[in-house]
């Protein structure tokens, strides 16, 4: 028969194990790969352009993550020198959480709008895009890619050919 002290120690141990497991679970990265399907080579200042983004479940089990229905742009960051390009976003009246469920190998495709800020002369940039699911502590980055910012008119739909796509799965709201 356990006395009170022993029971207390067992309880503390169990609490510790639970807390450790929860922390480990939260810090376990999702097998989420960020790739870009269509990227303009040139962004023209003050002219918004869409970049089609593919979130790919690169693991062998289903996964889910949270996004905003209207303001999913807030979940993104741009890694760049300076702030030559930024995110363009709409106002929202109805902005709710959605859970995206991806089967192994499944993808979620959605576009994000960018804007280049006025520059003097053409500017070449090396950027990467990072996505943070709702309630996650980790951000998932794309591979760095190149584009340039033009101060004047230039072809804005000179897209890269999209890379080969794994099977797509539409999100389940």
């Amino acid at each position: 028969m356990l006395d009170y002290g022993a029971m207390k120690n067992v309880a503390i141990f169990l609490l510790g194990v639970t807390a450790t497991n929860c922390t480990a679970q939260e810090n376990t990265p999702l097998p989420l790969a960020v790739t870009l399907a269509a990227v303009p080579r040139v962004l023209v200042a003050d002219r918004p352009a869409d970049i089609e983004i593919v979130l790919h479940n690169a693991g062998d089990a289903p996964l889910s993550f949270g996004t905003w229905s209207c303001g999913w742009d807030t979940q993104w960051q741009i890694r760049q020198d300076g702030n030559a390009i930024g995110i363009a976003a709409p106002a929202c009246t109805r902005n709710v959480r959605r859970t995206i469920r991806l089967a192994a190998g499944g993808t979620y495709v959605r576009s994000l709008t960018f804007v280049a800020r006025p520059v003097v002369g053409a500017t070449a940039l090396r950027v990467a895009l990072g996505f943070q699911p709702l309630d996650a502590s980790r951000r998932y980055w794309s591979a760095p890619f190149s584009l340039s910012v033009s101060p004047g008119s230039a072809p804005s739909s000179d897209d890269d050919p999209p890379p080969s796509q794994p099977g797509r799965e539409d999100y389940q709201p």
Partner: protein, 291 residues
Amino acid sequence: MKTQTCLAFAVLGLVLSTAVEAGMIVIYPDAANHRHTLTTGKVQSTLTPDPVFNAGEFFLLDNVSATVKTELAGGDVAFPGWTFDYASKWKGVTGSLTVDRYTAEKPYPAFAGAALDARYQRASTDPIRLRWIQFVQTVPPFAFDPDQTFDTLTGAALGNGALPACVGAFIDPCGNDGTDGGPFYWNSAEIANETSGTNAFGAFDLHFSDFPRVTVSNTYPKNGLSFQLYLVEWDGAKNVSFLDGIRWGFIGVPEPSVLLVTLLGLALAALWCRPRGLTTAGASGAVLLRD
């Protein structure tokens, strides 16, 4: 006589207390889940109304506003064949609305916003099939265009898509999402996850959450959204009865120091652009011609 007067007051008190008790009970958020104002970067966002911060402001609505009736009868979004009963069941619920989170937000340097999370828990006598209808008013009135984009750093207006704007006031969302044709906030694909469930705050019979935002910039120096959120009963066909409601929202303004710099800039510009050959005569304000 004195006894009769006392009895009359007692009856009046009972009637008044009954009237006050009718309708749902609203439970306000705790300090950890409430933020009246948020100022960072160039914009200040403030909850309006905010009964937690300002004792004189109230969430609860006394009735269904005329503008809501107008919108439902054929405003920016059409609801053909639907009927709305605004009176017969109004304040006919006695459950509780727990506002779990009500915070001023600022998702970007040039955007102001707010977040509201709430759970409705039915009383045993409340209707079973409950839904939300949310009405939006832009403050001050401006056209809300759902696919107009803005630079999140500067607030500059950018590209605009094909979706039409909603003008001044509308039933949320602007551009009905079309899955059920109804006026409800949660569409038919979403409602299952928002009824009879549990979230991080507790159990609910009907959940509500929203995280709206608007730009604040030189073009729109003061911008906000005012909401009327109604709890309604739906009969499963095309008939809706209004039960109770709250109002909530936010207003965004340039952060005070930005406003000061802007005003200073305007004053300097006015001074710089004054007609040549003129000079002011000190405190008197009289204008004298040179030479």
